[in-house]
């Protein structure tokens, strides 16, 4: 595939979609409770991965920021830990079930790291070390999931670059001992090697699991040029082998494969009594799919398209997040978060108006303000790609207009925007990822 063609085509269509009108959310009044004087002030703080922007002379760091618009410190960096120079930035933060902090990285020098976070005598969170872990050559780390296999917890990591980034069909899933961080197994099944019609793993990105079945997506080659996927791969966790590819692709609104990105295995622990199914967002298909699953027969049914962004005026659906009542899906174009009734899953039944953010809507956190107002903060940045007009070498218009470099904060009830932090303007950096300092604040990421 020609990289320039891909860039221009997708860029053009994304821009067009970005101009599509989206209904204004109606303003409702939210309930604000009296200030809780015992409230932990850190509940409104977030930990973020920041990328230095080459033309602005800044460097990568991990920062803690204040996210409460009611605070005088809103948007301020409370703590900043400079990162060593790696061949690519760190990408996603994850807390393990035991509270250990990890990051994936988009390069090969540090594609998976553990971050040592402690408190000093002033009770402040401080980072003492970022240790790059031995992935046995797996590069371009994306998502992490902790899941028990036959009663034993494992840490699974998707590596879009697999063990050989030079291969056009690269990709692997690393299985790690969650205590020692040692590689237990590399699940790798390149399309060119498994044989015609056999299940493969390619550019794995999203990951989710239920019982002994894991699903990973096939997104895009890390160099954004060598290939794009269109399948979800099912892995049998008894054998750690891929057993099925399921195509989630329909209209090809930008002419490319659908590029499944994030995936959520809807299961009874998320929604009581639910019939399990896999939800899939397709980055270039602009769609959300449902793949029903029969847990008794362990059979996945034909995928069903639940949402079509090309007709609805949205593009590049990315993340699934949830709380106790709703599921949220971010759409980078035009920059919004759609919300759905949790109990209705795996079907997508809207539960409220869209939350209008900025181009690049991606990750999100949930928390409350000092006055008790329930909030959502959305990262509006797909990747920290620069702007050609700044002579920025990282500019690839393939991701045109989806790098606003901002966080927007909204009332969770009404969607009203309460604040915005533009990292490029304020700190001359881009933002790669946001996580609530206390972890989650959300419950359904994978």
């Amino acid at each position: 595939m020609n990289k320039v063609t891909l860039i221009l085509l997708v860029g053009t269509i994304l821009i067009q979609l970005g101009c599509t009108d989206v209904k204004e959310s109606t303003s409702a009044t939210s309930t604000v409770s009296p200030i809780d004087t015992e409230k932990n002030i850190e509940e409104s703080q977030a930990i973020v991965l920041l990328s230095g922007l080459p033309t602005l002379g800044t460097k990568d760091s991990i920062a803690i920021i204040e996210m409460d618009p009611e605070s005088a410190n809103f948007g301020n960096i409370l703590y900043d830990y400079p990162l060593p120079k790696f061949d690519a930035p760190l990408h996603h933060l994850y807390y393990s079930p035991n509270g250990r902090l990890y990051a994936t990285g988009l390069g090969s020098e540090c594609s998976l790291a553990e971050i040592d976070l402690v408190r000093n005598a002033q009770a402040e969170p401080v980072i003492t070390k970022v240790e790059c872990l031995d992935t046995q050559g797996q590069s371009v780390g994306e998502d992490i999931m902790w899941h028990s296999v036959n009663g034993k917890l494992h840490m699974f990591v998707t590596f879009m670059g697999g063990t050989d980034l030079s291969q056009v069909d690269a990709g692997s899933v690393g299985v790690f001992d969650p205590q020692t961080n040692k590689v237990l197994k590399i699940i790798e099944a390149r399309k060119s090697q498994v044989g015609e019609g056999k299940p493969y793993i390619m550019y794995p990105h999203g990951i989710s699991a239920y019982e002994d079945r894991m699903v990973v997506t096939s997104t895009v080659h890390p160099n954004l040029a060598d290939g794009i996927g269109n399948v979800v791969t099912v892995i049998d966790l008894n054998s750690f082998e891929p057993i099925e590819n399921i195509v989630t692709e329909d209209a090809k609104p930008v002419g490319f494969p659908s590029s499944p990105v994030e995936v959520l295995f809807v299961r009874p622990s998320i929604v009581e009594g639910v019939e399990p199914a896999v939800l899939v967002n397709t980055m270039f298909g602009f769609e959300t799919w449902k793949i029903p699953y029969d847990a008794k027969s362990k059979v996945f049914a034909e995928p069903e398209k639940l949402y079509d962004g090309a007709t609805a005026g949205t593009g590049v659906p990315l993340e699934f997040y949830g709380n106790d009542t709703e599921l949220f899906i971010s759409h980078a174009i035009p920059g919004l978060v759609k919300r759905y009734d949790l109990k209705s899953l795996p079907d997508l039944v809207p539960s409220g108006e869209d939350i209008k953010t900025e181009l690049g809507a991606h990750h999100m956190i949930f928390y409350s303000s000092a006055s008790g107002r329930k909030l959502i903060a959305v990262q509006n940045n797909l990747l920290n790609l620069g702007d050609a007009k700044d002579n920025d070498p990282t500019d690839v218009d393939f991701i045109a207009k989806v790098n606003d470099h901002s966080l927007t904060v909204h009332d969770l009830t009404t969607g009203e925007r309460l604040g915005m932090i533009n990292f490029k303007d304020k700190y001359q950096k881009g933002i790669d990822n946001i996580e609530a300092l206390f972890g989650s604040g959300f419950t359904h990421h994978h």
Binding site: N40, N98, G99, R100, S440
Partner: protein, 378 residues
Amino acid sequence: MFKVKFLAAVSLSCTVIIVVSIFVFSTNKQGDTQLVEFTTPFVFGRFQIPKDNPLTVESVKLGRRLFYDPILSKNNKVACANCHKQSLAFTDGLALSVGVSGKPLSFNSMSLVNLMWGPKHFFWDGRANSLENQALQPIEHVDEMGSNLDDLTEELSEIKAYQTLFEQAYGELNAVSIAKALANFQRTLISSNSPYDQFLRGEISLSPQEEFGRKLFMAHPDTKVSLRGGNCIDCHSQFLTSGFSSFFDGFSNNGLDDDENLAEGLFGVTKLEAHRGLFKAPTLRNIAVTAPYMHDGRFKTLEEVLAHYNSGIKRSKTLSPLIIEADNLADSQSQHISLNLAPHEVVAIISFLHTLTDESFLTNKAFSDPFKTGEPND
């Protein structure tokens, strides 16, 4: 990642930095030596130190000496350490402690550990709202130490070593500075290097039985999804294993007595009927060495404690609803409240509880009796 909730205090402990208070000292402009560096696990959560009582080297040193000095008691025979022995995680091994009067006190001696986290009210019934407030109550209690604070202050002021220590720590010797010093020493009693902590940091793995017990500890039973649980975490938080810190959330009626025999507990402080029979959910850190258990020391062993939760719960009007609904049997028709844990599950939970024993805490010289170690007084 799914259903990983770190609500009260989350995150991470370090893999390298360890643990119990690593104190480094430096000198500030005023000449006071401040505690400028120690680390605690991030997962313990934020803590607060009163602005008018900073954690200084001098205050901790003074507090430690006072803690071990029987001069605080009327008959000069009972120190704080009499009822709070380091080797027993600062408990005394008795069902009910005994002070200067020789009469058994009303309560079992509470362990003194990780006091900067968890419930912000101290004593089993929550009658002190700060460590400073807590510190003087045993000194003045007629059965515990029986001292008059004015007399004690005068007595201490006649001792050269204390003249120096108080001057260095607070610039004056009075009841307030006595309380502050004792409070600060207790704040330094941090336990974070038990096998459980090492497990959390990824340094070790638990045995299969300990890990099984850990999972049961952390689970509220839910028969709908075949989740078996010991229901411990509903009152004892994931990392600190203490009660929760917000308001009076760290207090609970855990079914020890029926309405007829229900003790006052937190009601004695708040005068709210809903608080009758509620007692502080203590930390379970070092629980294996702090027998006997409960506010009145009624259970001699952890086996007896587990037997209570498994089949000995007594109904009362303020019994915790989290206990009432916790049952590992589906559709149980019995009116008797029970966890219905299997014997091997009980054993596993106890096995996990033993991983909370922090030997380095129990033997840390910084917490030991300075009169025995021959350390200089000033």
